[in-house]
């Protein structure tokens, strides 16, 4: 399971890449593998306000719909519209071309509450796999 070193993570398997005052966000390789067979993504609207830890997007697979939590509080500056028609991008490159949104960070303090790559790897190692149906 790939966990890039330059990202920050949440316990619910989202990632962000901090770029100045904004954060590019997505879901992790682990999350994509757990969902399997993605069929639909519902992205937030430009200008939507996100609240860290609260749902702001939905990803559906053949067997399940999962809420994606906002990894950080802020304002949606951009969303990856290309995913809507090519979800395989999200499966193939979850940390690159499969990004979900760009969020203007409201509270830089929140960054300290996110997991580093080592902490996230530890979480993956300890968490029992949860399945679908």
């Amino acid at each position: 399971m790939s966990v890039p070193k330059d990202l920050k993570y949440t316990k619910t398997h989202e990632w962000i890449r901090v770029e100045g005052t904004t954060a590019v966000s997505g879901i992790t390789d682990h999350a994509v593998k757990m969902l399997s067979d993605l069929v639909y993504v519902d992205l937030p609207e430009l200008g939507d306000l996100t609240e860290k830890g609260h749902p702001y997007a939905t990803v559906e697979s053949v067997k399940a719909a999962e809420e994606i939590n906002a990894p950080i509080s802020g304002e949606i500056e951009a969303v990856n519209e290309e995913l809507i028609d090519s979800l395989e991008t999200l499966s193939k490159d979850p940390y690159g071309a499969g990004w979900l949104s760009r969020i203007k960070i409201s509270y830089p303090d929140e960054l300290g509450t996110l997991l580093g790559p080592e902490e996230y790897e530890k979480l993956l190692a300890s968490a029992p796999e949860h399945g679908g149906h």
């Binding site: 067979d37 639909y40 053949v62 399945g131």
Partner: protein, 360 residues
């Protein structure tokens, strides 16, 4: 958690495992869409040991089975299997089953979640007659081989002439040298076989069929894809399309009921037939990529008129499909409805079932 003789194999092969009604079962080996595609075009191999199996023996076995199940076993040809239901006195569905008639035995294949209640159901129908009902679920391995190449893959490994074994027929046979009950049945909408063996022979049978199928593109298939396959074939699932709140006429499974037989629940069902049903099981599809899911409300003109019992994205059809219950006036194919996905309306249209039908 309960295991099957194949649990170790599933774990070793890297399957994602879940707790399925107390059984440690594989839900995905590779991916749901790959496993569905393999089964539709080539072949899939399934561990179904979690399903329950009963055997009724003794002189009065057929009279007992006839009282307990809607399908009159005495009308089933010897060596054939038929779909039937176990009903409450109120005529609602306790389980759906397959009844197999042999010269001296009646086999019943039941749902995993109903192993004990169904055993009790048949025991309650013995009523002092000469019949023994045994729950043999833990004494067998049950494997399914499903898909257009199932016969091609199985033929070199059995002594039985498969061309002579028709759909919904079964026989005693040898597969990979092991004595089995070989049945041309399944829950996928494809041609295929269900194979009942001893616990000890299970792993070798499974690995023999897996190796035999490899050159043909066979994949092991988990419960995730199994649910998609049966849903594409519009086969009802106990606990979702069939419950003790519903009767067989509402569920559109009257083909499993011998109305001339005198089974438990018959009187209630006759009354329902006379009065007519108010709601009916429907199949619907959507062009939306959003997927209707179990439990979501079905709406007509903004008002709730029913609920979704099963829904999935169909890899075979490339659209979302589902089943549910609505008033009979809204059940005609072509009727436009919507499904409430947490505030978002998914437009759906009632269609004829099954959604997918294999070419014969």
């Amino acid at each position: 958690m309960k295991t099957t003789p194949l649990t170790d194999w599933h774990i070793r092969s890297g399957a994602r495992m879940i707790d399925f009604f107390g059984f440690h079962m594989p839900v995905i080996y590779t991916s749901i869409s790959a496993e569905v595609e393999a089964t539709r075009r080539r072949c899939g191999l399934f561990d179904l040991t979690h399903m329950g199996r009963l055997e009724i023996s003794g002189e009065d076995r057929e009279a007992v089975a006839r009282d307990a199940c809607t399908k009159d076993v005495t009308k089933v040809p010897l060596g054939a299997a038929r779909y039937g239901l176990l009903l409450t006195e109120q005529g609602t569905v306790k389980d759906d089953v397959l009844v197999y008639r042999e010269a001296d035995l009646v086999h019943v294949v039941i749902n995993c979640s109903n192993r004990d209640p169904d055993h009790r159901h048949f025991l309650d129908h013995v009523r002092g007659r000469r019949a023994t009902v045994r729950n043999v679920s833990d004494e067998q391995t049950m494997i399914a081989l499903q898909g257009p190449l199932a016969g091609t893959i199985l033929a070199p490994h059995t002594d039985t002439d498969l061309a002579g074994l028709g759909y919904y027929r079964f026989c005693h046979a040898r597969v990979a040298g092991a004595p089995v009950l070989l049945s041309r049945t399944g829950y996928t909408g494809e041609d295929g076989f269900e194979i009942f063996s001893t616990v000890a022979d299970g792993p070798r049978l499974f690995e023999t069929l897996l190796a035999a199928g490899k050159p043909h593109g066979l994949l092991p298939v988990g419960l995730g894809a199994r649910d998609v396959l049966r849903l594409e074939a519009a086969m009802p699932l106990y606990g979702q399309e069939l419950t003790t709140d519903l009767n067989p006429l509402e569920a559109d499974v009257a083909f499993g009921v011998s109305m001339k037989s005198d089974f438990t629940g018959k009187a209630a069902l006759v009354a329902v037939e006379k009065a007519g049903v108010a709601r009916r099981r429907i199949g619907f599809e959507s062009v939306s990529k959003r997927v209707p899911r179990t439990g979501m409300d079905i709406l007509s003109g903004g008002a709730k008129v029913g609920h979704v019992t099963s829904g999935t994205a169909s890899p075979t059809l490339g659209r979302s499909i589902g089943m549910g219950y609505v008033p009979v006036g809204l059940a005609a194919p072509g009727t436009e409805l919507s499904v409430d996905a947490k505030g978002t309306a998914i437009p759906v249209k009632v269609v004829e079932m099954p959604f997918y039908k294999r070419e014969r």
